[in-house]
């Protein structure tokens, strides 16, 4: 399959994630949208990795290419988990204080 399809899919997923972060007011859903953005990135990285590996193999059958992108995906997954767990812990703290996860209640700090 040509790489452009993967790019379109990843851009679409990423845009949905961005739109969700910008429009939703619920903290948990915002984190879900951030995950969507990161997964779009993972998809794109794996697709590009495959593309570069194929290109390299076409020139030299013994070549190894595109490994670093797959490693990158592992790191993104772990970091995303860390980010979400810190975020969820903060959401729980916030819930104890203001009994809601709606970020509009956070407007007190505006201006």
């Amino acid at each position: 399959m040509p790489i452009t399809y993967y790019i379109f899919l990843a851009v679409a997923l990423f845009s949905i994630g961005v739109a969700g972060v910008l429009t939703r007011r619920n903290a948990i859903i915002i984190f879900m949208c951030v995950e969507l953005m990161l997964n779009a990135v993972n998809l794109l990285l794996v697709a590009f990795s495959k593309m570069h590996a194929q290109n390299a193999i076409a020139i030299d059958p013994a070549a190894v290419a595109g490994v670093e992108a797959q490693l990158f995906v592992f790191f993104i997954m772990v970091v995303a988990a860390a980010e979400v767990s810190v975020g969820l812990a903060i959401i729980v703290m916030m819930y104890r204080n203001i009994h809601s996860v709606d970020v509009n209640f956070l407007n007190r700090l505006k201006h």
Binding site: V34, M37, L44, A47, F48, G66, E68, L109
Partner: protein
């Protein structure tokens, strides 16, 4: 093998300190918090001093990690700042249940910044960046019983997660066009390919969030106001400073081929940051919010220096971050003392401060003079070199805008100085007894402001490191 330890000296020492603190926390003995805090501060002094003794340079981990004289110097600057913040936070942490956790989180972020600075690979850069930003959210939440503290943490973690999402999408596009995440390969392959440019712009957006340049600044004021004072100063000096170091070197080395493209982006960010930061700083009532917007406008000036993209402008950015560290930390030291003793954080509360606390007033006044860039202080020379670096491109319009903004900023910095020295106040902050640790911190900051300004060696030393 020994070269491994020599190259990684700063990172390994910091890791060792983190583990020692973890062992202290895990031990069954209940340590006296005063002992623990003095112990930590001694460790930080050792950490700072040890950084000056090693000169080895080279790369490690298959070209993922690099170190050289400039990077060592930048890490020493960050070590110094962390030590100063730790001294300022002493009294606050003495009363806090989780003092050791504060250091665990803060030193972890510092470690992340070190790896980010030393990265010569986008993967190492990303991991360092995240290590530097995730624990900061937990730090912002460190006033556990205060509502606004957890609000600040919430805003920080959300905007930082969003920013790293943008940055990662940029990285993945750059990887797709180049086929490698190594900085050297990217520098060779950097081209005007549309997808590459798109990725590059997203990367700059990610940078912009971390240094809180306008229009990516929206989280800054809220987080600065809500977080504890020590964390605010850490965010505004160490976190921002490390990101500025990285951004300067990445833009001028990795993306040197795209100079024409990023020059315009950086110039627009600089002008917007200066104008918006200044205009919002004028109408602030809370002094932490005020310093947040003042730091946004300082970032605008630094971006002007960055846009020069030569050795002079690079060293001017490093020099200004050093000066900014001293000036901003001096201001935060005073705010920390007053906020700790009386809980007052509004500019109106600072009226008539000179009558009760002349020493604190002078420290804050000199710090604000330095931030405003008034001649005998280091801030003037810092801004002068920045503008000189930016002027090397011949874009004098940018320099004129910057000069106008310096005048505006003078107005609001002097407003606070006038409030402290001249305005009358019926309920001024009472006379405060300042303990030794903030005193040392303030003395170092004052010495730094005077010495780095008067002795021209500082700038020339940084310049010699870059050559």
């Amino acid at each position: 093998m020994s070269i491994f330890f020599l190259l990684l000296q700063q990172e390994l020492l910091l890791t060792a300190i983190i583990f020692v603190l973890l062992f202290v926390k895990l031990s069954t003995k209940q340590w006296n918090s005063q002992t623990v805090l003095s112990f930590v501060n001694i460790l930080l002094v050792v950490n700072l001093a040890a950084g000056f003794f090693f000169k080895e340079k080279g790369t490690l981990f298959g070209d993922m990690f690099q170190t050289n004289d400039l990077l060592r110097f930048e890490k020493n600057i960050l070590n110094l700042g962390t030590l100063l913040i730790s001294l300022q936070a002493y009294n606050w942490l003495l009363k806090h249940k989780h003092a050791i956790e504060f250091y665990l989180l803060m030193l972890s972020t510092l470690l992340g910044m070190f790896f980010m600075l030393s990265s010569s690979n986008l993967l190492m850069f990303y991991v360092g960046l995240e290590l530097a930003s995730i624990p900061l959210a937990a730090l912002a939440n460190f006033d556990l019983d205060k509502k606004r503290s957890s609000e600040a943490a919430m805003k920080y973690i959300m905007s930082s997660a969003f920013a790293s999402g943008l940055l990662l999408f940029g990285i993945s596009l750059i990887y797709g066009m180049v086929g490698s995440v190594n900085f050297t390969d990217i520098a060779v392959a950097a081209s005007e390919n549309p997808l590459f440019l798109f990725g590059f712009i997203l990367l700059i957006a990610g940078f912009g969030f971390k240094i809180s340049a306008v229009p990516f600044h929206l989280w800054t004021a809220d987080v600065y106001e809500g977080a504890p004072v020590a964390v605010t100063s850490y965010l505004s000096v160490i976190s921002k400073g490390s990101m500025l170091f990285v951004m300067t070197s990445v833009l001028s080395t990795v993306f040197a081929n795209l100079l024409f493209q990023w020059y315009n982006i950086v110039a627009v960010l600089a002008v917007l940051s200066m104008i918006v930061g200044n205009l919002f700083a004028i109408r602030q009532q809370n002094i932490k919010r005020f310093l947040a917007f003042s730091s946004i406008s300082q970032v605008g000036f630094i971006l002007i220096g960055m846009s020069g993209a030569n050795i002079e402008s690079h060293s001017s950015v490093v020099y200004f971050v050093l000066v900014y560290l001293f000036s901003n930390l001096a201001a935060f030291a005073v705010i920390n003392v007053i906020s700790e003793a009386s809980g007052k954080e509004n500019i109106d509360d600072y009226k008539g401060l000179y009558k009760t606390n002349p020493a604190l007033t002078w420290v804050l006044a000199i710090a604000l003079f330095s931030l405003a860039g008034i001649p005998p202080t280091a801030g003037f020379f810092g801004k002068f070199f920045l503008l000189l670096g930016g002027a090397s491109k011949g874009n004098y319009l940018l320099i004129i805008v910057a000069a106008l903004n310096m005048v505006i900023s003078l107005y609001y910095y002097l407003r606070i100085i006038k409030a402290m020295f001249m305005d009358a106040n019926e309920t001024p902050v009472e006379k405060l007894a300042i303990s030794w640790s903030p005193k040392i911190s303030m003395a170092v900051c004052m010495a730094g402001i005077v010495v780095t300004g008067i002795i021209s060696g500082a700038y020339e030393y940084i310049y010699s490191l870059l050559k």
